[in-house]
Amino acid sequence: MLELRPILSALMRSKVSLVLIGLQIALTLAIVCNSLFIISERAALMNRPSGINETDTFTVGSIGFGADFDLRASIAEDLAMLRGLPGIADVAAINATPLSDGGWSQGISLDKDQKSPTAPTALYLTDEHGLNALGARIVAGRNFRPDEISGRTRQSLAWPPGLIMSRALADKLWPGQDPIGKSFYINVEQAPSTVIGIVDRLQAPWVHKQRVVELSTVVPQVVSDGSFVRYLLRAAPGQRDAMMKRVEARLAELNPGRIVRDAKSIEKLRADVYAEDRAMMIILGVVIASLLIITALGIVGMASFWVTQRTKQIGTRRALGATRGAILRHFLAENFVITSFGLVAGTLLAYGFNAWLIQNYETARMPWYYVPAGCVTLWLLGQIAVLGPARRASRVTPAMATRSV
């Protein structure tokens, strides 16, 4: 026995409170839905796999000093030592790693004469141990052979004949075709390279560049000029942190003519590269929680005020035959009506807000179910918030009809 019609017409006569609470509910719906959507977008971003073993891997850098520092010799010596180190599963020299937010990129062209490249790509320069050290999975073709590895200097213009690329890049270059053996140009002035292997997935270092994040090419070369080298190591399971310390110490010990620095786990790189996203999620989470709490408190406050204000009216209704349940339902129904008003306005506001974000911040369109889910949540919130005051109302004695002034 819902008395929606008289409740509605009574509310229409106290428009100020209706508008105030309704507006609060509308804003809450709009902001909560959009914030949740942004949170879920960021979470989806963070949940994309990088394609590598992140738990056991770490990187460490080495900068040689002194005029007679020989990078090539130093790398050979370091790798020989590190590969013999118990607790290290594999190690390679590499120019960049996923999640590091820094590295090399080039455009790939399929045709010598094309004006602009077909796709961008991140370039990972490493040896035949590189993919194994990363824990990336070769799903077609083969890995590099030791004899294919060469050095790369600033003067190198040509690219090696056989390269490995991520499946996403291959799919983009040759949709629906077998990429193994296909040729392409990193530098159209030079001889083309061919695809010899495909890794399932290998993220580019820049996780926030949607256009290139899944597109990577692995080159069988080690940077051999300058004095800096970065090693990527994969420790035996559970030994990463211990190995990080030991590797730093051993490298320093092995060749005191350089500085060993920046030992960092890939997990740390991930935490750093997504720090802003995580902060955003936390802030929005706090905003959502605060809005819901404030709205609930607003409803509790307003309803309590109304119960106090209408004590005599409630007593009269009781005297006229309302059961306690009927009074309780009256306040629940009244809250439902007010909330519904807010939610209608809030729905428009939520979609408007999303449209604005789409236009100004390249946000995606919010999936349809966010607003209905938000409405149900706020209806429930409203009912729960009003339950206390409504119960208080239901306990007003019918004698208040004659006893109160």
Binding site: M1, P6, A322, A401, T402
Partner: protein, 240 residues
Amino acid sequence: MLKMNHLSKVYRTHLIETHALRDFSIHVRDGEFVAVTGPSGSGKTTFLNIAGLLEQFSGGEYFLDGVDVRGMNDSARSRLRNEKIGFIFQGFNLIPDLNLFDNVDVPLRYRGFNAAERKRRIEDALARVGLSARTRHYPSELSGGQQQRVAIARALAGSPKILLADEPTGNLDTQMARGVMQLLEELHAEGATILMVTHDPELAARAQRNVHVIDGQVVDIHAEPRMRGLGVVAAQAAHG
């Protein structure tokens, strides 16, 4: 119709016990118009509230229309109140945010009548008190006397067994009070049973029977000498 035997009511606060009613016995018959008088604080409202099932009593027994109301739970009391009792309050107690139609509708909705039945009853009741033309008006747009008429319509609409009125003219000037009193007399003439608390000896004198309450006890019940023929005939017709 309404029968109380040795009824008592004690209000307990943390400091004092107030014996608002003691050894209170009364029998109101069908079709009677009873005026309850007595000094302030003597227990008149307490009596009316208990009669109307708004409050519990401490001892004794009470039969409303043959039903023993002792130990009844709150929901059952609410339903009984809704069905058998029509209240008229000193302060009218209309709901300010509802128009006259919806005000009269309030007890009918609790009764669970369907929409058509409610509409018929509301229109009949408002017509009976002469306010048919103003169903869409709000209480604040009416005079006090008119508001009390709406309250009477609301009390009548559910066809109760008895009308309970606590100083129904207490908030009205003489002119309006006379109008309301006249309406009550007419209703009585049509067969209604009315129990009315009043301070006004003149109004009390117009009732069929007077009950005087002092210090929570009925001291003196005397039948109204000038029994109006019309009332008796109508009452008999209504219950015969």
